[in-house]
Amino acid sequence: MWGVFSSDLLKIKRKLILFLIVLGPLGVIGLEAVNFGLRYDYLTKIYASDLWSGLLNNVQQLSVVVMLLGVAIITSLMATIEHQTNAWKQVLALPISRTEVYTAKFLFNGLLLFASCILLAFGSVILGIVLGFGTDIPYTGLLKITVFPFLAALPFLAVQIWLAVTFKNQSIALTFGIVYALFSSYTRNAPDWLPLKWPLMMNSFSVITGVVTGLIVLTITLVDFAKRDVN
């Protein structure tokens, strides 16, 4: 397992992926910096009672869409490495089980996204301090806007990995991923059972159902991957 993991790490060295993992949170923070910088007086008046949660709300509104788009793009870029060089045959010919290969892919992509979310948390803190909102940082709120959406988005990570690995034609995985990512921002008033709403909900329900559904989807796709003919 660890071997697959470190081989994945080697594969993304000097690739676009790591750049995107950093650019995602950096871009969100950068846009919010411009947003607050340009409309400082107006926004600080609106959020006068709680400047930090005002900032975190603004960050979150942008970051969930960016994260879901990131899931689609990163998983596709990862799968393309094998597709482009027809390397699936070689990877699966190694003396490791398919379950290990696939689980390692899932964990690796998950870790990259998690790193991205942690960067977002650090970025939000730095932005808040630079904007002069004081050092009374709401750590719970920070955790909620960064880690909660990530855990609630695990089903989407599992689905995207399966789509990207199974279909060599990446337009399927990417179109699907991009379309629902964009649609997610309109699901605030949708019923709770809609998985697309979970990354926006940021409560214990969304985290638990997200993780459980994620594991179920992972198991189903894992079984499918183990049976699939690879060429």
């Binding site: 870029l77 482009q84 379309v179």
Partner: protein, 244 residues
Amino acid sequence: MLHVLSSEFYKLRKSKISLLIFVSPIFAALFGFFETDSSKIVHGSQWMYKYMVMAAGHGLLFLPLLTGIFSAFICRYEHADGGWKQLLALPVSRSQVYIAKLISVMMLLALTQVLVLVSLLVIGWIKGVPGDFPWAFVLRSLFNGWLASAPLAALQLAVSVSWASFAAPLAVNVIFVIPNILVINSKYAPFYPWAQPVLSMFGNEKEAFGGAINISLFSLIVVVIGSFVAFFAAGLIYFQRKSM
């Protein structure tokens, strides 16, 4: 030139791209269908309000992102299994191939715009929207949105021919389109090429909706045509010199 175009058409005919042109119109239809407040009126017309509801998401995010998806799709056959070598070994010039690809992307975007119109008409009919349909306004807006997406398509085609991966050009696309969400409400919107499709789909200063979204014809021409020429020239020059 016509032969190159028809070869593009053959390649697309049986592919899944026909499904992609329906994606955004279907979402527009969903927004139109679930928007229940039928009493709202824009410029004395409930049709105008329906158009605004349905075209907002399309112009802001879907249309700009579709320029990237279509461009990447149209280069997929050539990137897979040495298709570029075969295509360019034919007695056609590289600029012809490049222009044919751009025309194909623009035709797919035009089809999408037509389908948005169809979906507006169908949803309006289902919902029983009263009054005359504002043909002049809607047709002009959809056409303007299509023209404004040309520079985006030019850039995406340039990126798509240079990268074999499908996801990499889309990453570039997303990087430029996501700021739209914030740019659109700022005074910098008229200068940002990726915001032009949505701006031009909501009329010009005289017909602006509620003063929230304005567009200056001058900056539209400068930004749209300026960026189109820059992206198109850069892409074409790069493509002509690229070793395949």
